[in-house]
């Protein structure tokens, strides 16, 4: 009798645990937006349980393949290998465009430089240039402390594509786990350079013009800023589009809603809809 009750209890626990949970994993760039969405969404639907992770776009997409997440936040499009894998496994991931972002190049406020070209940026990150004085003779002869997001990051992937254009990042580039760490490192270190989603930028760092253009909302939307990119939420649609009324559907619809898009702007990014 006791054993039966124990088993029943376990089953109940499991059942309760599986009820109404939304799992979101992926992009570190989208993380702050997602947190705002979740806080607001919980007010509308208090009975819902949501978990969020922001270890990087690649972790989200990997989780989508593994079946361990409902929504994958991604600050990059799918890679060729991922599309191949989708085909091989007979899966289809639905891309939902939720916001726009520009990758901002940041340096310490005390560094006397205001803009940079993609060429120079590439040379810094591939290791061709290692001293600030090589960028501009007026700059101090100090080693550039180069930061980057780690390889799990969608931001990293986009940067690699648009700036490095296939070249390898130098091994001495420091890989850090999140954009926030990059901001702080640059704020404290006069010789650091880093790149982050524009939503992370604060007063404590200086944003450089890239090829003469600042990552303002206008410039990103008009495509003038060279490092602009859309932000996505991917959902596994292999077994059908999410049913209206289902948790995934409701959450995505909330992200698209006026309030959801307001929160995108609140986080420092650019709304995709309602412009």
């Amino acid at each position: 009798m006791r054993k039966f009750l124990l088993n029943a209890l376990l089953v109940c626990l499991v059942a309760v645990g599986l009820a109404q949970t939304l799992v979101i994993k992926g992009s570190n760039t989208i993380f702050p937006i997602a947190q705002l969405w979740i806080e607001e969404f919980k007010k509308l639907r208090p009975e819902v349980k949501i978990t969020l992770e922001g270890a990087g776009s690649s972790t989200g997409i990997a989780a989508l393949f593994n079946g361990t997440t409902d929504i994958a936040n991604s600050s990059r499009w799918l890679k060729k290998e991922e599309i191949q894998k989708m085909n091989q496994e007979g899966k289809y991931f639905i891309p939902f465009l939720v916001a726009f972002d520009g990758i901002a190049v940041i340096v310490n406020k005390s560094l006397p430089i205001d803009e940079i070209s993609i060429e120079t940026l590439k040379k810094i990150y591939t290791g061709e240039i290692t001293y600030w004085s090589q960028v501009n003779p007026n700059l101090p002869r100090q080693q550039i402390v180069v930061y980057s997001r780690n390889t799990a990051s969608g931001t990293y992937e986009v940067f690699e594509t648009k700036v490095l254009k296939g070249a390898r990042m130098a091994p001495h580039v420091r890989m850090v786990e999140s954009s926030q760490v990059e901001i702080e490192s640059v704020a404290k270190n006069p010789y650091a350079i880093a790149y982050t989603g524009v939503g992370y930028v604060t007063e404590s760092v200086k944003v450089l013009k890239v090829d003469g253009v600042y990552p303002t909302k206008e410039n990103i939307l008009r495509g003038r800023y060279p490092l602009a990119r859309p932000l996505f939420m991917f959902v596994d649609g292999t077994n059908g589009f999410p049913e209206p009324g289902s948790l995934i559907y409701d959450f995505i619809m909330f992200a698209f809603s006026k309030r959801g898009q307001e929160l995108v702007e609140k986080a420092g990014y650019i709304a995709a809809y309602g412009q």
């Binding site: 690649s58 990997a62 780690n150 390889t151 390898r168 091994p171 001495h172 420091r174 890989m175 010789y191």
Partner: protein, 275 residues
Amino acid sequence: MVFVLAGTGVLALSLVVLFILKEAIPAFVKVGKEFFTSVYWYPTSSPPEFGMLAMIVGTLLLTVTSSAVLIPLGYVVAFFLHTYAKNLEKDLIRTVVEFLAGTPSVIIGTFILVYVSPILINFGIWSPQNFLLATVGLILAALPYSVSLSLEALDSVDVSLEESALALGATKFATTLRVTTRAALPGVLNAFVLTINRVVGETIIVLMVGGGAAIIPRSLFDPVRPLTAAIASEMGEVAVGSLHYHALFAAGLILLSVSLFLTGLSRYLSRRAQP
């Protein structure tokens, strides 16, 4: 019944070795020598490169430098506690050292990031996460092992041996150095081996303060990324079953082999220590 439950120990070890091997082998088959010959770790590019040499050397260098401080330091403190310390002193210092043993490594890492790293910036060292800090962290983490085990070894020597030496006119210092240490040599060596094992396996501290760039560090202030940190940092982004996944397991296999070897060495030494 008791026997069956006790057997879980053996079962557990076999499973651990089995699974790590199982998941690592596909990587060795596909990548093979490159692991040990190339310093280019680019697991996410096309085509991917899996050179672990920089990380292996990183692990090696960190272990060597930390141990170079840890082993003598631990021995010196143990020497002092065994030979000169009065009971109260011995108890007090031992207790504090044992508390350090129980301190979670994440706290040591946090302590270094919050209190020690900023000191470096004040001295004009613009690399706030580097080899030196990682070494300091490792020393803090493994020092209790070094001290306690050395002390145990020295204390376990028959008191009459020491008394005879003293009676013959030897100084306390000479007694401990020549007589006790020689008698306790296997035990003391065992302490060294186990300390090294602890250093090799430390993950969180090096992940937090090492700097995250997989290069062979050429100066104390270069960043470093040992195998443990790479595994912890990248495991989140891999799809189960991908080559990257297997490559990380291969790194795990290297660590496992090293630790099993050191454990075996330690067992041999402790058998020698017990007459």
